[in-house]
């Protein structure tokens, strides 16, 4: 990733529900400035909110920080959402990603767990790694023709050394 070619926008907010909307609106502003379509901007708003909500819900026991970085390249926007909270088994999570199964009894439906699935559905490329905390890199390409489709939707990446 040649980050020096990108505009870098960085922010840190407390891992609290009331700040998720702040991040969402900021990313919306950046994406709008970059010239993304209305639908792409709405997709990114949901994806970044899901990522932040996951941090708020799962990462910390006594509060912490969500670190958000946006790298704006000529052809794409990369949004990195990172925390320093407790990690989880990435492959375990990936195996359980999917839509609601309408053949299962209603009593078995879960209220949570759709967030990461939505992120992988709404973004063009998603990378998830856990080194110290979780790092989620979500990419949206400016023109739909450069989409890298991943059949599994959720590749596991090794942290770069």
């Amino acid at each position: 990733m040649k980050q020096h070619e990108a505009d870098h926008i960085q922010m840190s907010v407390p891992a609290k529900p009331e700040y998720v909307g702040v991040v969402r609106l900021t990313v919306s502003g950046i994406a709008n400035r970059a010239g993304f379509s209305y639908d792409d901007i709405e997709d990114m708003k949901i994806a970044v909110a899901e990522a932040c909500t996951n941090v708020v819900t799962h990462a910390y026991e006594d509060g912490g920080t969500i670190n958000i970085s946006c790298f704006l390249f000529a052809n794409r926007l990369e949004i990195v959402v990172a925390d320093k909270g407790q990690s989880f088994d990435v492959s375990e999570v990936r195996d359980h990603l999917g839509p609601v199964d309408s053949t299962r009894p209603i009593a078995d439906l879960k209220e949570g767990g759709l967030g990461l699935f939505l992120i992988s559905s709404l973004m063009d490329k998603v990378e998830l790694s856990n080194e110290s905390g979780i790092v989620l890199v979500m990419t949206k390409f400016l023109h739909g023709d450069e989409v890298e489709q991943d059949v599994d939707g959720f590749p596991e990446t090794q942290p770069e050394q």
Binding site: P17, V20, R24, V56, P99, V100, D101, A107, G115
Partner: protein, 106 residues
Amino acid sequence: MNLSIRQEKNEDVVVLYLSGEIDAFTATKLREELIPLAEMGQTVRVDLSGVDYIDSTGLGVFIGALKATHITEGNLTLVGMSTRIKRLFSITGLDEVIAIDEEGSK
């Protein structure tokens, strides 16, 4: 970044008119309003025509309400969905388990 909820009670139907945004912050408010109605076995219609943003925390509240109505034999129907919101329900497969009244959709 706000959600307002207006409740209208007719003889046998409770209609919740939502307007604003449903996210991790405002979902609590929706949960507090909707889940008790579902637990009482009410017939609830939730009008989403004023909602311009929803994510999985909002979807989770509707799943919770659906489960509650299933136990109490109440009824939950969502109306007035925009095409954007409808899209989220189809991506997640929730349109297959939650009753959605297409009439009045934007």
